[in-house]
Each structure stands twice: as structure tokens, then as C-alpha cells.
């Protein structure tokens, strides 16, 4: 048993600190006591089989899924006290696009940018970064391909300038160029001081990108679960 000894911990408070975090989807414990610490500027890869709890973990970190027991602190916010407070500081790229099909790419990106109270110049810059400027920006999202929608969602996320990026399979549905853009975005964001947690099945690509790898299984972080023992998992 070597639970987190204070000397091993970073001087600054971690961006994510979970201890025995349990999250329920209905009555199903999708997270069954996760332990996870992520420091600032780190790029963390979550891996695990389907149904291991990756998506739920990302959603819980975004403050969308309530943590019902254990400790959960994200960006200094205790999720069990007020999980709404963390939401505008994180960016979540989920399976759903989070876009209005009837509106154009530019409308969508500008709307979500303004909703986050960011500058609309950021929206334009983000669209340019993802290759969505020009002709594509006036196309309704409903008529885009999957990959183009993914890029639009990423542009919305980028324009929000989140402190914590939660990317659920960011490479899925993208072509080679798109994946390269994602990797660049992630590296730039980390360099600029953000923290990134991503899940991916593109292991070759992601392992290269990541500073740390956490394997999930059965709703727990397996590495920690095995080494840390179950005393603090309760």
C-alpha cells in the first residue's frame, strides 16, 4: 500500500482529484470508485474496453454526471458541493455534436462562443484553425459530413478557451489531416497551460501524444486500483 504520499504530490493543487468517486447512471454504478489525479498541463489518455466508464468519467469531470460518493475536486471546485461552477471552465467534446443542425457552422460556433462570453474574434480564429472558414462556414451543420461536424464541435470547444479539455474519442470520424489538427490543438493547449484528458481507440497516435495513460475497467482506474489497494476506494 502506497497511497498518495504528500511528498509525491505536485506542489500546485491538481486539476483533477478523484478518490473513490462513484457515479450512477440510473442504478448502474458506471464509476465504481475511481481514483485519479491529474496535474496542470498534463495530457492524459484514458483507455479501456467499451463500457469501462470512460465516457461517464469525462462527463462527471465536466460536472454533468453527479458524483454520489467519494471525493471529486476539479479545478478547485468540489463537484459534490457545486458541480455547476466547474462547467463553464471545461470543454467537453462528446459523442453528440452539441450543434444545431439547422444553423450554419458560423452561427453555431459564434453562438456557443458568445454563450461562453468569449470574444467573437475567437470564434473566427477557431474556425480558421479547423479549416472551417470560407465556403464551409455558411453551410448548415445538418448538411455536413461527420468529420466536418466533429471539426465544428472542436471549433466551439477551442473558442471557449477551457482550462480543462475533456475529449471523448476526438480522433473518431476524422481524416488524417483532421487527426493531425487535433493533436496539434492538444499540444498547443497544454503548452498554453490547459490540461487535457482524452479517451481514444487510436492508441498509437494517442500514446505518443499523452504524458500519462490511465486504464479504466469496471468503473475504476485499474492501475490505481491494483497498486493503491482498496482502503481509500471505499
Amino acid at each position: 500500500m502506497e497511497p498518495d504520499d504528500p511528498t509525491f504530490r505536485s506542489v500546485t493543487a491538481p486539476v483533477v482529484h478523484l478518490r473513490g468517486a462513484v457515479a450512477l447512471l440510473g442504478r448502474f454504478p458506471a464509476l465504481a470508485g475511481v481514483d485519479l489525479d491529474v496535474d496542470r498541463r498534463r495530457i492524459v489518455l484514458l483507455r479501456g474496453a467499451n463500457g469501462a466508464g470512460k465516457t461517464t468519467l469525462l462527463r462527471a469531470l465536466a460536472g454533468l454526471v453527479p458524483i454520489t460518493s467519494g471525493e471529486a475536486i476539479v479545478l478547485g471546485v468540489d463537484l459534490r458541493v457545486d458541480r455547476r461552477a466547474v462547467r463553464h471552465r471545461v470543454g467537453l467534446l462528446a459523442h453528440g455534436t452539441g450543434l444545431y443542425d439547422e444553423l450554419t457552422v458560423a452561427d453555431n460556433v459564434r453562438f456557443w462562443t458568445r454563450a461562453a462570453r468569449a470574444d467573437s474574434a475567437d470564434a473566427d480564429a477557431a474556425m480558421a484553425r479547423l479549416g472551417l472558414d470560407g465556403r464551409l462556414s455558411d453551410v448548415a451543420v445538418g448538411r455536413l459530413s461527420t468529420g466536418q461536424r466533429r471539426r465544428t464541435s472542436l471549433a466551439c470547444l477551442l473558442a471557449r478557451r477551457p482550462e480543462l479539455w475533456l475529449l471523448d474519442e476526438p480522433h473518431a470520424g476524422l481524416d488524417k489531416e483532421g487527426r493531425d489538427i487535433v493533436d496539434d490543438l492538444v499540444r498547443d493547449a497544454a503548452a498554453a497551460g490547459a490540461t487535457i484528458i482524452l479517451s481514444s481507440h487510436e492508441l498509437d497516435r494517442s500514446i505518443e501524444l499523452a504524458d500519462e495513460i490511465v486504464t479504466l475497467g469496471g468503473g475504476v482506474a485499474l492501475d490505481e486500483f491494483v497498486s493503491g489497494g482498496d482502503d481509500h476506494a471505499q
Binding site: R84, L92, A94, G96, L99, Y100, E102, L103, D107
Partner: protein, 231 residues
């Protein structure tokens, strides 16, 4: 007062949401292609059901008008929340940092604008199809404004109560229509009063509906947050 910035943010959020919703409605043309034809269809169906030659239609016009508004407005409200249920938008809204009260007011505003358009068109439809001669303009206008406020404030609040559930299409009418019964009574009586040339009988109803709308604005502003929380 530190409540001032909060109010400003709420209102600017509301404006953002309302603009987005209306833009979306204009782009998608669902209201134009489906809701408005449905409303006119209801008017025609009433004429079939109530023989227009026996004066029944004329007597029932205010009630039929408001029932047509309610039913077609219900479609607009269903639509207003179906839009937000699409493909992860609900989560995106929660993460957006928009204040729930602002979202509530914005959606209320966009529903109200759509209702107003619907009411004007139905009014024209009634005047043409049922041969109603319109009198008492002031009371008619006041009734339309207040009833629209009442319907959209309550409709948006109950819309989010039903949102995100598998049974939402059936639940919303069950919740909303009994609640709106006073508005139906009030707007119908006020219209009758206006059309029959006795507007003084109509004004108390305008007052009642204002109280109704006020209750629901307050409930919506405070209740929308907790309701948006759980999907």
C-alpha cells in the same frame, strides 16, 4: 447593488437564446410549413364541426380562436424543446455557462414571438373565414399580449419539465392544458367582451392573466436551473 450585473447577464443570455431560436425557426421553416397550416386547418375543421349557417360559429369564434392558438402553440413549444434535445445540445447548454434564467427567458421570448405571429394569422383567418367584425381593438390587443405572455411563460416552464423524457410528447399537454385553462377562459371572455362591445367586462380577465404570467415568470426564473440540471 450587485444584482444588477446578474440581471444584465440574464437579459443578454435571454437575447442570445431568443435570437438563436428565432433564427433557427426561420431557417428550418417548420413553423411556416407545419405549424401555421395546422392552425388554419383547425379553423376549417371547426367550421365543419359547427354549422356556419346557424350562427354557432359566430358565437363560438373567440373560444375557437383561442383553442386553435393553444393547440398550434403546443406544437411550437414541443418544437422549441425538441431543438434543444438534439445530439448533445442539452449537455452543451449546461456546459455553456449561460444562466438558466436567461435560457428560460430567451426561450419564452422566442415562443412568444412565434405565438404572436400565429395569433395575427389566425386573427386574419377568423376575420375572413368566420366573417367576424372586429371591434374593441384596445382590449383585443391587450388580451393578445397578456395571453401570449401567459401561454409562453407557462409553456416554457412545463416544456422543460417534460423535456428529455421519452414520454414528453404526451406529458406536456397533460401538464400544460389544465394549467392554461384559466388563460383559455380569460382570453375567450375578454375577446367576447371586446367583440360584443362591452370591453369593461374584459379588463378583469386581462388582470387575471397578467397575474398568471407574473407567477410563471418568477417560477421559471427560479425553477429552470434545477430543472435543467437533470436530464
Amino acid at each position: 447593488m450587485n444584482s444588477c450585473p446578474a440581471v444584465t447577464i440574464m437579459l443578454s443570455d435571454a437575447w442570445l437564446i431568443a435570437r438563436k431560436d428565432l433564427k433557427l425557426e426561420i431557417r428550418s421553416r417548420v413553423a411556416l410549413n407545419q405549424v401555421i397550416p395546422f392552425a388554419l386547418l383547425v379553423l376549417v375543421l371547426f367550421a365543419f364541426a359547427l354549422d356556419p349557417d346557424r350562427g354557432l360559429l359566430e358565437k363560438a369564434t373567440p373560444g375557437l380562436y383561442w383553442i386553435a392558438v393553444l393547440f398550434s402553440g403546443l406544437l411550437a413549444m414541443q418544437r422549441s424543446f425538441a431543438v434543444e434535445a438534439a445530439d448533445g445540445v442539452t449537455d452543451a447548454l449546461r456546459l455553456s455557462g449561460l444562466t438558466p434564467s436567461g435560457i428560460y427567458l430567451g426561450k419564452t421570448l422566442s415562443v412568444a414571438v412565434q405565438l404572436l405571429v400565429l395569433e395575427v394569422l389566425l386573427g386574419v383567418g377568423v376575420a375572413v373565414l368566420y366573417g367576424t367584425s372586429i371591434t374593441g381593438w384596445l382590449l383585443l390587443l391587450a388580451t393578445i399580449v397578456v395571453a401570449t405572455a401567459a401561454i409562453s411563460t407557462a409553456g416554457t416552464l412545463f416544456g422543460v419539465v417534460a423535456a428529455g423524457l421519452r414520454v414528453r410528447e404526451t406529458l406536456l399537454p397533460l401538464l400544460l392544458l389544465p394549467v392554461l385553462a384559466p388563460v383559455l377562459i380569460g382570453s375567450t371572455r375578454a375577446f367576447e367582451a371586446a367583440l360584443s362591445g362591452t370591453p369593461s367586462e374584459g379588463w378583469p380577465w386581462v388582470g387575471l392573466m397578467s397575474v398568471f404570467a407574473a407567477v410563471y415568470v418568477v417560477a421559471g426564473i427560479f425553477g429552470f436551473g434545477p430543472l435543467m440540471e437533470e436530464s
